[in-house]
């Protein structure tokens, strides 16, 4: 029966701490969870590591740690690198320079009643577990665009709006967040800057009513559905589903542990 803790037995050889009573082992586990800022062991529902958000994060982790040899990570000295992700990938992802936490959010639009019928145009990212003491340094909505099957050469205007509460309870208003021009023959990830929205949702989680996507053909002025220009929707490949990446800087106060 493994304990999860292995110590030096004085003979330059690690041995399992086998005599830890079950109760003490549980307390050790709880202490480590507390160090990680967690109240309980997370229970993710059917976490698929092959879906787009986890894959992006695993790739990022492996790039940050060189070969990706997960068992032998040597992180920065704390005094030399005040921000964790400062030493690598600066050209690739400038926001890393000031980030302590990177979080990818899965689209939970199917859980939101008033957004359900527009699942490929709307997005809902749950910021309920983000601490208001964390500061958003950047946020990107990542949409995967395959080649335009219509075969026309044109440019599309992609706009992202935040959905906000109107005067009446039933009313929802769209507030422009960001926009981007993309060529019809482009294939790959489109990055939309939604930092303002993520910042608002972090400070006021109740204001989070999701995002709305609008696509216009620049040559005809016609509004198009995302799948018409090749943007992968909820029925598409799991590794090409839209997701949100958010970069946070942690407040220094979070490192002061409370006396228990």
């Amino acid at each position: 029966d493994s304990t999860g803790f292995y110590t030096d037995n004085g003979l330059e050889q690690s041995v399992m701490v086998s005599r830890i009573p079950h109760r003490v082992k549980k307390e050790f586990q709880q202490e480590i969870l507390t160090l990680m800022g967690l109240h309980h062991k997370p229970k993710p529902r059917a976490p698929g590591k092959e879906t787009s958000a986890p894959r992006f994060m695993i790739d990022l982790y492996n790039k940050l740690h060189g070969s990706g040899a997960s068992g032998s990570i040597e992180d920065d000295d704390e005094d030399e690198h005040p921000h964790f992700f400062s030493r690598t990938l600066e050209n690739e992802m400038p926001k890393l320079n000031s980030s302590d936490v990177i979080m990818s959010f899965v689209n939970h639009v199917h859980k939101i009643h008033f957004l359900r019928h527009e699942r490929d145009r709307t997005f809902f990212f749950d910021f309920g577990e983000v601490s208001p003491q964390e500061t958003v340094t950047g946020a990107e909505l990542r949409l995967y665009k395959a080649k335009d099957r219509r075969g026309r050469h044109t440019t599309y205007h992609i706009e992202v709006f935040t959905i906000q509460q109107g005067v009446d309870e039933q009313d929802k208003i769209l507030v422009p967040e960001t926009n981007h021009l993309v060529s019809s023959d482009f294939e790959g990830w489109i990055l939309m800057n939604v930092t303002n929205a993520a910042d608002s949702w972090t400070i006021m989680p109740a204001s989070n009513m999701g995002l709305y996507l609008k696509i216009t053909d620049m040559s005809t002025g016609q509004e198009l559905r995302p799948n018409h220009i090749g943007i992968v929707g909820h029925r598409g490949d799991p590794d090409k589903q839209a997701f949100l990446v958010c970069f946070f800087k942690m407040s220094q106060q979070l490192h002061v542990r409370r006396t228990r």
């Binding site: 493994s2 304990t3 999860g4 803790f5 292995y6 110590t7 030096d8 690690s14 586990q29 480590i32 160090l35 990680m36 062991k41 997370p42 229970k43 993710p44 529902r45 059917a46 976490p47 590591k49 958000a53 986890p54 994060m57 695993i58 990022l60 982790y61 940050l64 740690h65 997960s70 068992g71 990570i73 040597e74 992180d75 920065d76 000295d77 704390e78 964790f84 992700f85 302590d100 936490v101 990177i102 979080m103 990818s104 959010f105 899965v106 939970h108 749950d126 309920g128 577990e129 942690m250 490192h255």
Partner: protein, 134 residues
């Protein structure tokens, strides 16, 4: 040095009293302050369902005596030397310097939350890089 020679002589001259000798000998051979291995294995904790990486990490810990001369110990602070002098004069009331971490480093952990979001987070002060006498 004089004290250590005395301890050795005492230990040898009381070899017949095995219990007493063991205590004296053990006290004499206790290692000086140094970093020792402690590995926290997330897989063996049964946490692989939510921690994606790493599989575990070397936390290390500090163990051993801070004994005279402190030059034998790793990274003894100036104050530890004063503390040990005081302890030598008043051993009953003044504690010895403690063997504890002098340099710590961070680890990064990649894990799922309850909403199946993935978090890459830095945790400071999780690994002992060096031990010393304080």
């Amino acid at each position: 040095s004089a004290r250590r020679q005395m301890d050795t002589r005492t230990a040898v001259s009381h070899r017949d009293d095995s219990h007493w000798t063991w205590r004296r000998t053990r006290r004499y051979v206790r290692p000086v302050c140094r970093r020792k291995t402690m590995y926290v294995d997330f897989e063996d904790l049964g946490w692989q369902s939510w921690i994606i990486a790493p599989e575990g990490y070397s936390a290390f810990y500090c163990d051993g005596d801070c004994i005279f001369p402190l030059g034998l110990n790793m990274n003894a602070t100036n104050h530890a030397i004063v503390q040990l002098l005081l302890h030598t004069v008043k051993s009953q009331t003044m504690p010895k310097p403690c063997c504890s971490p002098t340099k710590l480093s961070a680890i990064s952990v990649l894990y799922f939350d309850d909403n199946s979001n993935v978090i890459l987070k830095k945790y400071r002060s999780m690994k002992v890089k060096a031990c010393g006498c304080h």
